[in-house]
């Protein structure tokens, strides 16, 4: 079986799953319609109250908005350095969230309301599924002249977080009409999953009892680049497309495939999908992707500095990926005969490599002191 066979088999499997999902939706429609009517009635009742809020808009070309979102990205890319930058970044994330959601929902007011609801619901976890496992671990105990064995059975208890999963899913569903229903888009989603899911699987780490940990940067950059490209080519709304790519990539890649893989390999455990609420990778990746695309599209100073900070971030966080990309760029520059770019690229890569070897950021002086003590 060669690579093409695997890709075609995977694409066919995804297509079959989607086909059956479509059939299931048809069967469930009579059940869902009365509930949808209730939602519509409730929505119609709420709408007058929130009309003012949904009309709230802020001029997106305002320099302070651009600066705020730029600062969020810069502090994100530099947050490996110092703890206090992480704290500033968290604060900026909470402030930038409504703007990012506003880009998807159409107005800042709508983003603000939904963001407030997300923050409110961040601590609510609901048990969705419980699976008794087959694996039993035994611990021998001895006490008062008797010996016995305590047996602990693996149980998989999966929770869903209201702020971390339900809200992004409902937002995704509410904008689905604007992006999904063209046949070529569905195939592009399959193509995206075939590209994104292997990357997500490699970049994420399964931690038993805690869930999946992954840098939201990975899914954010993938969704921003792919979503913006697709949306530009097919004249779709860019921000909802990026949001959809980011949420579905995280949920399917991390919380379904990687979790299932981890549980099958290491035994069942308890976990919450979107458990960190508003700071979880699902919504954080989407917000990051939206802001990244927004700042990137500003061009000029914003794009240049963000690109530089992003390169540094990839360099520190993923040195192998960085050097692979660098080698690819160098070869491309040679093949395409961009010879005037070559010296710059070489000097840039060498300087970063020297920095990596010479400047012990964060592990630096304190580590040296500890080493002195250890000796």
């Amino acid at each position: 079986m060669d690579v093409l066979d695997i890709i075609s088999w995977a694409a066919y499997s995804v297509y079959i799953v989607l086909w059956y999902a479509g059939k299931a939706l048809v069967v469930l429609r009579p059940l869902a319609e009365p509930i949808a009517d209730m939602f519509e009635h409730a929505g119609a009742a709420i709408n007058p109250a929130v009309t003012y809020l949904s009309s709230l808009a802020i001029p997106l070309d305002a320099s302070w908005i651009n600066f705020l979102l730029w600062l969020y990205l810069i502090t994100w890319y530099l947050h490996l350095w110092h703890d206090y930058i992480q704290k500033v970044n968290k604060l900026l994330y909470v402030i930038s969230g409504p703007i990012a959601l506003g880009l998807v929902l159409g107005s800042f007011g709508a983003g603000l309301v939904v963001w407030a609801i997300t923050l409110l619901l961040s601590r609510r976890d609901y048990l969705l599924l419980e699976i008794p496992g087959r694996r039993i671990r035994s611990f021998k105990r001895e006490c008062c002249n008797i010996r016995y064995v305590i047996r602990i059975r693996d149980v998989g208890a999966y929770f869903v977080n209201a702020g971390g999963l339900i809200v992004p899913l409902v937002i995704l569903i509410s904008v689905a009409d604007r992006i999904f229903f063209r046949p070529e888009i569905q195939f592009l989603f399959i193509a995206y999953f075939l590209l994104a899911i292997p990357v997500v699987l490699i970049a994420s780490r399964y931690e038993k009892g805690r869930g999946i940990s992954m840098d939201p940067f990975v899914i954010a950059s993938l969704s921003a680049l792919f979503g913006a490209g697709v949306a530009g080519f097919f004249e779709l709304e860019r921000y909802p497309t990026i949001f959809a790519f980011a949420v579905l990539g995280s949920v399917i890649g991390c919380d379904v495939i990687k979790l299932a893989w981890g549980e099958a390999r290491y035994g069942l455990s308890t976990g919450s999908v979107g458990g960190a609420g508003v700071f979880d990778g699902i919504i954080a990746g989407a917000v990051h992707g939206l802001i990244f695309y927004y700042v990137w599209s500003l061009g000029g100073f914003y794009m240049g500095t963000v690109a530089l900070a992003m390169i540094c971030y990839i360099f520190w966080r993923y040195p192998i990926a960085f050097f692979t990309l660098s080698a690819a760029f160098l070869i491309y520059a040679l093949v395409a005969k961009y010879l005037d770019l070559l010296p710059f690229l070489i000097v840039f890569i060498v300087v970063l490599a020297c920095l990596y070897l010479l400047i012990p950021v964060e592990r630096g002086i304190r580590l040296k002191i500890k080493h002195e003590r250890l000796r």
Binding site: E33, L105, I146, Y148, R366, L367, K370
Partner: protein, 261 residues
């Protein structure tokens, strides 16, 4: 028991050593964060002792329930037949003692007040009250213990919780067969209904989409409301399960159970 200064000093030394170990791991290329280590060093008393105490109570109850089964016809395990009821009860009380020691430790907020406890008489009424109040949810109550600063309040709480712990381990409890059947049915219904309803409500929110911000908010709260209802149902099922386990119909050691060597 250490005084507060000694505790703080031990925590500081522990943090120093833990940070050194973290630095060594960092130097070897392992990506770890130091902040959670610091939190762990300073917060361990608040959480892990309570969890351990709750686990020990379950273990003690399990041993006690097994001790009651010795001599009965229902016990077929030949390895258990060799144990005497007294051995098992001794082991059970040993674990209960460990649990009570941890409960007291979790209740003490400030080591300075420990010396003042000597002059306060043990409130027997509260011990009795705790024993009488003991039911299946004692391990959960133990997990919610909050440290106490005032010596008299501390003594009252210590007395009450020790009474609860003792009552939980030794009190007789029974449950009718219907409740056991109801529990199994409810659990099965929940495991099917929760994911199914979640999916249907998400689908309904899709069908209701396109009616503006009000519709979006209604959909979010609709899905959350139904999941809240399921949360209530799940806590009810958990309560029944705890009751059945406390009575010994299922092994009280909830994680799976105890067997014999």
């Amino acid at each position: 028991m250490y005084c507060e200064d000694a505790r703080a000093k031990i925590a500081n030394i522990c943090l120093e050593i833990a940070e050194t170990a973290a630095s060594v791991a960092l130097e070897r290329g392992y990506e770890i964060s130091k902040e959670p280590i610091k939190k762990g060093v300073y917060k361990c008393r608040d959480t892990s002792k309570k969890e351990l105490a709750a686990d020990l109570l379950l273990e003690a109850r399990s041993l006690w329930v097994w001790s009651n089964k010795i001599g009965s016809e229902r016990v077929e395990d030949p390895s258990l037949v060799r144990r005497s009821r007294e051995d098992l009860r001794n082991a059970s009380m040993f674990r209960a003692g460990e649990a009570m020691r941890l409960i007291v430790d979790a209740l003490v907020k400030d080591g300075e007040i420990i010396s003042e406890l000597d002059r306060i008489p043990i409130p027997l009424d509260l011990v009795k009250k705790g024993f009488d109040d003991a039911d299946e949810i004692v391990p959960k109550k133990v997990l919610k213990i909050k440290p106490e600063e005032d010596p008299e309040m501390l003594m009252n709480k210590v007395a009450y919780y020790c009474g609860l712990a003792m009552g939980y381990v030794v009190k007789k409890a029974d449950v009718d067969e219907n409740l056991q059947r109801k529990f199994l049915r409810l659990k099965l219904a929940y495991s099917v209904a929760a994911p199914f309803t979640f999916g249907v409500f998400l689908y309904a929110s899709y069908l209701a989409s396109g009616i503006g911000l009000g519709g979006l908010i209604a959909s979010i709260f609709g899905v959350v409301a139904v999941m809240e209802a399921f949360k209530l149902m799940s806590s009810y099922i958990e309560k029944i399960e705890m009751k059945i386990r406390w009575t010994g119909k299922l092994d009280p050691y909830v994680k799976e159970g105890i067997s014999w060597e």
